[in-house]
Amino acid sequence: MGQLLLISLRNLFQHRRRTLLLGSAIAFVTMLLVLLSSLFNGMQDTMLRSATTLMTGHVNIGGFYKITAGSAAPVVTNYAKIEQIVRREIKGLDHVVVRGRGFGKVISDTTSLQGAINGIDITHEKGFRDVVQVRSGRLEDLAQPRTALIFESQAERLEVKVGDMLTLSSPTFRGVQNTVDVRIVAIGGDLGFMSNFMIFVNSEAIRDLYQLDVTTAGALHLYLKDPEQADTVAAKLRKVIQAEGYGVMDKVAQPFFHKFDTVKREDWVGQKIDITTWIDEMLFIRYTLQTLSVLIAILVTVLLVIIVIGVMNTLWMAVRERTREIGTLRAIGMQRGRILAMFVIETALLALGATLFGVLLATLLAAGVNAAEFVVPKGFQMFLMSDTLRLVVDVPTAVRSLVIISVITTLGSLEPAWRAARLQPVTAMHAN
């Protein structure tokens, strides 16, 4: 084995030009795969971090209250009791955030826009400061009653700044149009498409808008120590809350705002609880990421096919060039399996070296891009939920890329290696 390794290694050095060409191609594809994966990871990380802070907890306890069969208010009455149940039953709970939910018109002195109005208690929002980059004003001021946080693009559209007033207008859940004035205390940096339609107001403002009492909330966002447990926790809560006498809606993997029409068509009245996970609420992100991963897979597959063809061609050439050597080795007693192993080892060594180099290059490039805080174009920001490009090279992805490309490249060498092993010693020995 040692001698086979030595022959393979020296052959790689002997044919430097061929090794460099093929190695560079393999390294390039590896680098591309790692960079695309790190872009995907970075996007996923940013999108999920933003979304699970702004729009959803790891598990959400929301629901609908129906005064009449044809109405649907996205609220949870007497939420404190449910919060007690959650704190009693869920072991891996990190923290709970109470949110108000609503939709309405946001009106400035000059114009207006439609938006999702979220009531928050900023003193309990642990991750909010990490996600929202305040461009002007102070996030802490959102603790004051009748205050609002909007995003840069909204401020631009509404032609407002910190200190200006906005009017929120929406029908109450009893069907009466109501308005509330709020003062802008902070303007945050845009967070992709979420900045287009989400505004955050002090929770008192949303209660005033919808004429709700203090025992009513839009939803409880539960944050877990291990977000992977979200499905288990949601399933448990569904059972426990039902056992406490609440009506619980069937599990439907949709965000709450997609459920209005269905709920309105149902003939029950009163409160029903809806328990969802962040995956249910963020379906559109999952679709986006799935589409992206399919595109990456297609691109990498095409590149890998090109590389495999390159490897096979190169090895066919090598087999032709080394026919006499193969014949000699067979004549002096080398079995076919070892000839095959010799060529496969040669490719495996090249693939391993090149992929390692590719991973290293990708890691350095990713570190460079992150350090440079590369600002992405506006259109891409919307998709990315961030204004800067962030690449996350994680070890499992890098190792997976390395192994996949090394294995596929090495597999590509099997046919030419088999062809070499099948050469008759007499044919091989007398080749020119």
Binding site: G333, M334, R336
Partner: protein, 243 residues
Amino acid sequence: MDHPPAIVRLTGVDKDYLLGKVVVPALRGIDLAIQPGEFTVIAGPSGSGKTTALNLIGCVDVATRGIVTVDGHDTAKLSERDLTKLRLERLGFIFQSFNLVGVLDAFQNVEFPLLLQRKLTKAERRERVMDLLQEVGIDQYAKHRPNELSGGQRQRVAIARALVTRPQIVLADEPTANLDSETGNAIVDLMEKLNDEGTTFLFSTHDPRVVDRAGRVVRLMDGRIVEDVTRRAVGASRIAQSA
């Protein structure tokens, strides 16, 4: 005096090659036995069938008709794997173009068959290879790669490689063809010396200077044996003969 059993025996051997649809006979009705310790030359002009005969004996090709036995094994009945093993254990090869592995140095080239055999320890391999390199006179070039050696030196490495497994017979295909006459003579001197020490040699050549020094000459013409002359009995010293 009873002869020991032949190492190699060819009985009624024919070998045909197919060139498109044309059958070209290379050997016809060859009967030949090689005894241990012989220093035999297969001589003849180009195309007479020398290399074909050597290929059949070396188990790198198979006869169209007839029986080839090497070390008592009918080569037609052996599997590819067993033929390879037979070559490794019983035969040594010396090629016209030396056929050394270019990326290995002289020591590693000679050591290679021992690594394939997996019988000796590293220290034993080292000792045997160095002894052989010393015997063929190139121990000082052990770390040189083939492209750093002259033709004669490369052929010495090839001889050492052929002998390292202590084979029953060494087959040499035109071993002096690519060497100048002085180097060629030195190589034949070396093979004679090794033959005196007990190694059986069978080589093909059309070099008259080499033929003149053989103990036995088998002459081929158009694929048939036309002459088989033993000039010197096995074991009879050349020095004694010349005296």
